[in-house]
């Protein structure tokens, strides 16, 4: 159910995204960091669904809060001539890997159990 809606969302997004106007190059670095932040939140959301502790408020605030904070940090970094966005990228991508690992473990366990059940049934 969740994955179907994710796939539908992705396909629709790709179709719409291909037809929207291009933004100016100056702002593309901000959009890029916002994308990374949002991607991190989506993986976090999937993980929390798996862990069954999904909270709508936390998810929504994380989605927008992270994106806005990372954009603000990128802007500040540009003013100060420090590549702060690199720190944001490191944190977000690191979290993404952690979340992906949790999701992977969950499904690997699930499938192993299923196969074990199937093979025990066949033996009987």
């Amino acid at each position: 159910m969740i994955y179907i809606s994710i796939i539908i969302g992705c396909i629709l997004g790709a179709i719409i995204g291909m037809n929207t106007p291009v933004i100016s190059y100056t702002y593309s670095s901000y959009l890029a960091i916002a994308i990374i932040a949002a991607l991190d939140t989506v993986f976090g959301g999937i993980t929390s669904v798996i862990k069954k502790n999904f909270d709508l408020k936390i998810f929504l605030s994380g989605f927008f809060g992270n994106a806005i904070l990372s954009i603000a940090l990128t802007y500040l970094g540009e003013r100060l001539n420090v590549d702060i966005y690199l720190a944001a990228v490191v944190v977000f991508v690191g979290r993404m890997f952690t979340n992906l690992a949790i999701i992977r473990r969950y499904y690997v366990d699930k499938w192993t159990n299923k196969f074990a059940e199937l093979s025990s049934k066949n033996k009987k």
Partner: protein, 237 residues
């Protein structure tokens, strides 16, 4: 119900995310060439700076060598009365060739393109051309100018003044408006010769060119930076 809500929310999030990713990807692909250009530009700027540094270094080197040479000449020529004359002659020759900075009284002429073209039929006449510079310099030399420079370029006997589109080349260096012509000589004579009725300056003023002439007590004229080459000319034995 809860499951459905979560699914819908995640779907919307993914929708927004993919829209963002697609826009970003298209932005980056459409501006990739521009990024390349700025990179190339930076490289070029870098190499320009490096060459300039090298040039400055070489110029410094030249100056120290010249100072050394002068010192050597001095020590060589102080030894005797005869060599004293040689030294004086050498100085004289160097001045004539434009190899020394010179100072003295003279006049400064500033030529600028007309702000409003007086002759609408021939707009070109309201601009300062290389031929105008040549005429003015010729008039100055005729009036006894001993050293002349245009925008810091010393006019020597091998100087060529040529037209190069919207700028003028003197000694192969680009010079542009406004043209500041410095001349050392009797300021009265030079001034009189230039402002003579029916003279070339009169003609320039009629065409609308802005001309400013100023008498000065001290004018410094830089030395000629080039070299004299004699490949074909030989001294007759």
């Amino acid at each position: 119900m809860q499951e459905k809500k979560i699914a819908a929310l995640l779907g919307i999030m993914c929708f927004m995310l993919t829209v963002g990713i697609c826009v970003q990807m298209r932005t980056v692909t459409s501006t990739a060439s521009r990024m390349g250009r700025t990179y190339a530009e930076n490289e070029l700027r870098d190499s320009v700076l490096k060459w300039k540094e090298k040039y400055d270094l070489a110029y410094d080197n030249l100056e120290t060598k010249e100072a050394k040479l002068d010192k050597l000449r001095e020590t060589a020529s102080t030894s005797s009365e005869a060599s004293e004359n040689v030294k004086a002659g050498l100085e004289q020759n160097n001045m004539a060739l434009g190899f020394t900075e010179v100072i003295g009284s003279g006049i400064t002429i500033t030529l600028k393109d007309a702000e409003v073209a007086t002759n609408k039929l021939d707009l070109s006449s309201s601009l300062v051309h290389y031929s105008d510079l040549i005429e003015v310099i010729n008039a100055l030399k005729n009036a006894g100018a001993e050293a002349v420079s245009v925008n810091g370029e010393r006019i020597v006997n091998v100087t060529a003044i040529t037209c190069a589109g919207n700028i003028i080349k003197i000694n192969n260096e680009k010079v542009g408006v406004p043209f500041v012509i410095n001349a050392i000589g009797s300021s009265e004579k030079l001034y009189g010769a230039l402002t003579m009725h029916g003279g070339y300056i009169d003609k320039l003023k009629e065409d609308g060119v802005t001309v400013e002439i100023e008498k000065k007590d001290t004018i410094t004229i830089p030395k000629y930076n080039g070299v004299y080459k004699f490949e074909y000319a030989k001294v007759v034995e």
